[in-house]
Structure formats: structure tokens, C-alpha cells
Amino acid sequence: MTQFGLLLTELMDARGLDVVALSAALAQQGYEDANEETLVSYLLGELEVDARLPRFLAQALKLSFEEKKALAMAYTYGQDGAGAISSK
């Protein structure tokens, strides 16, 4: 799992969410492209994370300022070579 995946898993756990619930929360925010399979691929670094996702995650998970900062860092510097396959 990438650093991004680890952080996102932590943020989800802290809110008692699994990928199904996160997918639904993202859809509620108007982000329809994250089915469970895609989210798991993002967590594992099999897919490069969609550039729109951090913004939607911040809203869907109601992230604090510090959490938003950590997510930005993990998204930017912690995908560990993910993106051999680009999702967009």
C-alpha cells in the first residue's frame, strides 16, 4: 500500500468508514467516479489517484486543516510510483 493509501485508510478508520461507505459519501458530494474497486486500486497504488479526488475527499470526510495538509502531502509525494496505469 502507498503512503497515500495508508493515510486514507487511517482517515476512513477514524470515521468508521469502509470503501463502500466512502464511495457513497463521495457520490453524495457529486463525485461519481469512485466505485469500490477504483478506490481499492488507489489505496494499493495500482492506479494513479484522480486529481479531483483530494478535494472531494476533504469534503466527504470533513477533514480538519491538519488532515487536509497530510492528505495533500501523501497525494503529492506519497504515491510511490503509482500511475503506471493512469485513471484519467
Binding site: 494513479e48 486529481a51 483530494p54 478535494r55 476533504a58 486543516f65 491538519e66 487536509k68 495538509k69 492528505l71 495533500a72 502531502m73 497525494y75 503529492t76 509525494y77 504515491q79 500511475g83
Partner: protein
Amino acid sequence: MAGFVLRTQNGQSRHTRRLLARVGTNGKSKPYSELGKLLDAMARERDVRGPYNIAHHLEEVAGYQVSGQGMSKYMYGETLPKPKFIETFAEAFELTAQERVELAWAYAYGSRLDLAHERSQVRDSLFIPQDL
């Protein structure tokens, strides 16, 4: 860049703030994106000016290949660079820890990091009760 650069409490140099205030376009009407403004200001602070020179610097220092035109598209927000580009930029321009955070924020959210909020968080974390 030779010489001493004063840094503010939040780590952003006064020079960067002045540059951010006055740069960010190519002199035409179309402005750079927030990410582009930040890339531009950080590169200028290190005496590298303009998309073509930034592209050249990245290739020379890090062996990262991007054309001047491609770099220009990043700066105007016409295309979004890959995370690898941001990481390479941070390394090639030897960004400080604070600058890396600012760049990551702009890249992830397309907006500027709220430095006032950042300062208040630091102040809060340093708070020492009087009765101790």
C-alpha cells in the same frame, strides 16, 4: 541564489511573498493557475525565470524531461503535471519543508495554503498555560 533571505514565521520568505504578489502572468492578460504562480515564484526566488528556463533547470539538475511548452501548460493550468513532476521540482529547486507543504496543497486542492490558519495552529500548539 546568493545572499541571505529573511524568512517569516511561517517559513515563506519575504522575497517569495513579494514575487507572488507581482508575478504569475507572462505580462499578457491570462494569469497562471495557483499552482503555476507558486512554481513561478519558487523558481524565481532561485533565479530561474519562465517556463522554458524551469524546464531546462529540471532537465539539467534532475534529468527530468519536460518541454518549455509543456511547462507553460502546467503553469497556466491547461494540463496538470504528474505527482512525479512535483516531487522532482521540489528536489531540483531544493525546496524547504514549508515550501513542499505549500506546493503539495496547491497541487492537491488548486488553492493557496491558508498561512494565517497555519500560523494560528502553530501558536495553539505552543500555548503554555500561565499557572504552570
